[in-house]
């Protein structure tokens, strides 16, 4: 039996944000901007965790995943180290439709900045003028900034607490850009659902086409479970096979936010327990002193 993949690089980007590069040559070759993978930290008891692909290197045969430790499962994943194996399935979902729109505005919030990067890059390569709005709660959670700055013709950075860039929510500069003449031709937004919802509300009065990449509850990721269903334009759609990107003006955001809370209470309990376990494990690891030093990948 084959099917597990080895972590070749790991880097902690901030207290809660991790980057891992996983050896997966076929996924690295096939994946396109906007697609995601499902990862499991083991083959027996792990949850199936959908994660967007931040980057891929077809030559090295690796995909880069950036994730935030928001629950028990992502915490367990964060405990994995180079040399460890994980389950990885992908690339899943439909790639972003890339064309030469003219002026594209890419809005990313928090961990959403990671999957925003390949989309912004693809839009740039297709000949668009690209403006990137990077937003995060605080400076520490701003990721992929060098990469995004390298692509963007214009890069606007905001934080909720003003610890870096402008003290604002992403919707503030987004609204200003929409008011420019001529206005943007396309808006792409990836980030927390509540942020995407308000991005949609910001652009709606301007009638500018807005795409949002949804990260709903998901089991198989292949069109079998229906857990990822969301109402778009009054029709039930499946994020895994119909998405993950949809017209943000047609998404039933309130319904989606509600469904995302399905396991909130259970997850909180598991998360708390997990924090304890993590502390114990990291103490044990420190005592053993057995952890291999992390290495930068060869470019």
């Amino acid at each position: 039996m084959h099917g597990t993949h080895t972590i070749v690089y790991k880097h902690q980007l901030s207290e809660e944000v991790f980057r891992i590069d996983v050896e997966a040559p076929l996924v690295a070759r096939e994946r396109k901007a906007g697609q995601f993978v499902i990862v499991m930290y083991d083959e027996n008891f792990s949850e199936r965790i959908p994660l967007t692909i931040a980057d891929a290197d077809p030559v090295r045969g690796t995909v880069t995943l950036i994730f935030q430790t928001v629950g028990a499962s992502t915490h367990r994943l964060a405990l994995k180290n180079p040399g460890d194996s994980v389950v990885l399935l992908g690339p899943l979902g439909n790639p972003t439709h890339i064309e030469r729109y003219g002026w594209a505005v890419c809005v990313g919030g928090g961990i959403g900045l990671a999957p925003l990067h390949p989309i912004a890059k693809a839009l740039k390569e297709a000949g668009n003028r690209v403006t990137v709005i990077s937003g995060a709660r605080t400076k520490d959670l701003l990721i992929m900034q060098d990469e995004l700055a390298a692509i963007a013709d214009e890069h606007i950075v905001v934080t909720d607490d003003g610890s870096f860039g402008r003290k604002a929510l992403v919707t503030e500069p987004l609204g200003e850009l929409c008011g420019r003449s001529p206005p943007p031709d396309i808006i792409v937004t990836i980030g927390p659902p509540i942020m995407m919802k308000f991005c949609a509300e910001t652009t709606r009065p301007f009638g500018i086409k807005t795409l949002a990449s949804l990260n709903t509850i998901m089991i198989d990721g292949t069109g079998m479970c229906g857990g990822c269903r969301v109402s778009v334009g009054g029709k039930t759609k499946f994020v895994c096979v119909d998405g993950p990107e949809f017209d943000a003006h047609l998404v039933d955001w309130n319904g989606m936010l509600m469904r995302l809370g399905t396991y909130k209470e259970i997850e909180k309990e598991a998360h708390d327990r997990c924090h304890l376990e993590m502390q114990i494990e990291s103490l044990e690891a420190r005592d053993e002193g057995a952890r291999a030093p992390e290495k930068e990948p060869a470019k």
Partner: protein, 492 residues
Amino acid sequence: MSHREEYTMDNAEIDLARLRSAPITPKVRMQIPPQDMPAQDPSVRRNNMDEVALGYTPAQAMLEAERCLQCKNAPCIAGCPVRIDISGFIGKIKEGDFLGAGKIIKKTNLLPSICGRVCPQETQCQAPCTVGKALHGVEKAVQIGRLERFVADYERTHGAVEVPNVASPTGKKVAIVGGGPAGLTCAADVRREGHEVTIFEAFHKSGGVMVYGIPEFRLPKVLVQSEAEVLESMGVDFELNFLVGRTRPLLSLLREDGYDAAFIGTGAGLPKFMDIPGENFVGVFSANEYLTRANLLKAYMKGKAGTPIYPSRRVAVLGGGNVAMDSARMALRLGADEVRVLYRRTREEMPARAEEVGHAIEEGIIFDFLKSPTRVLGDDKGKVAALEVLSYELGEPDDSGRRRPVPVRGSEEIVPFDTVIVAIGNESNPLISQTTPELQVDRHGHIIVNERQKTSIDRVYAGGDIVLGSATVILAMGEGRLAAQAINEILQ
């Protein structure tokens, strides 16, 4: 412990000895009652995940085998989708040659421990059984499924599972897309001819519906595992976590990766919903999702499993098939106080296996026949609070020959529930057809095949639910077998 031994040895062994003390005429055979299969007590099993049915003892199996008349025309065989030599294997059981019986079954069915448990025998091999017909009741037919299960379990627990012979290498390669019943069967039959076989499975375990859908209490996963191990011993290669169409396009396997033929057995797809208001409220699940969480991801092992399962008290299951029974009985085991199955027709029309319905009733599942919801009501947090349920009565027969349920006007009532599990079947999975435009599908998205299971693409075959819609494990196996024959011919 001695208690149970006494029970099993006494009754069946004494009956068998008494029976065999004189010549057994057909009339005597018809007088032997169908042997019940021992099962866990309902009040115990509703609190555990262990297998419900415990299987025959050797004496019970021989006694049941004695009921078989060994009809010359063997109508049972025609009722079996994979044409097992049923009278042949039952004859061996009579002789006490259980391993011999196993060899006969394995000629046409590689997965008897599974089929013996999940096949709808009452509509297949047991339906035309002469004994059942003579006694005016299909439930009185020879219990072929239980005998098949006995033989398979005997073989396994006696370490006598034989790995089928594999012909010398032909240098040809076959890709099997999907590791469920259709794919596993096709893989075995193609491998036997000496072709290299790779099974591409999207999940992290092979077995398809047998691991994600059918619960542990009905089909222990260790059985599916051991069947997959037989294939591995035959040299079949498994590529898990590989989604053909996404990880690699189907046609690239054929054109660039050196595969000479492919079989698509991707199984069930998008779950169907009722299309009623409120279906996206929190607490409405497809049976696929609910069962996958519980089975494949082991959500019932709380504290160990990373996958959560919704805490349910009052559960409504919509549908009347095996999947509905599995969902209802799983919800009960996961701690629900009350589980009700809402079905638009009556027990007569239910497509579920009779044994599962019986087991569900014993366990305390409540059946609301001639009922179907018209909308889901939610609370202020968007969680399911109740169903509005409409009553039906049976009218004239429809195209399927079943009497059509007709709604009773004004019969709507509000019934409180916190969980709704929708088990009314699946649409086709769009993934392979989306990513393989050359592949012809019908308007439901099912792959179109000819009588040899060949698709519109040369060297590409398909079978199972992706062709049939929601069918059964055994029908999927039958199609996998047919496709394997065709593949073996073109690779000669």
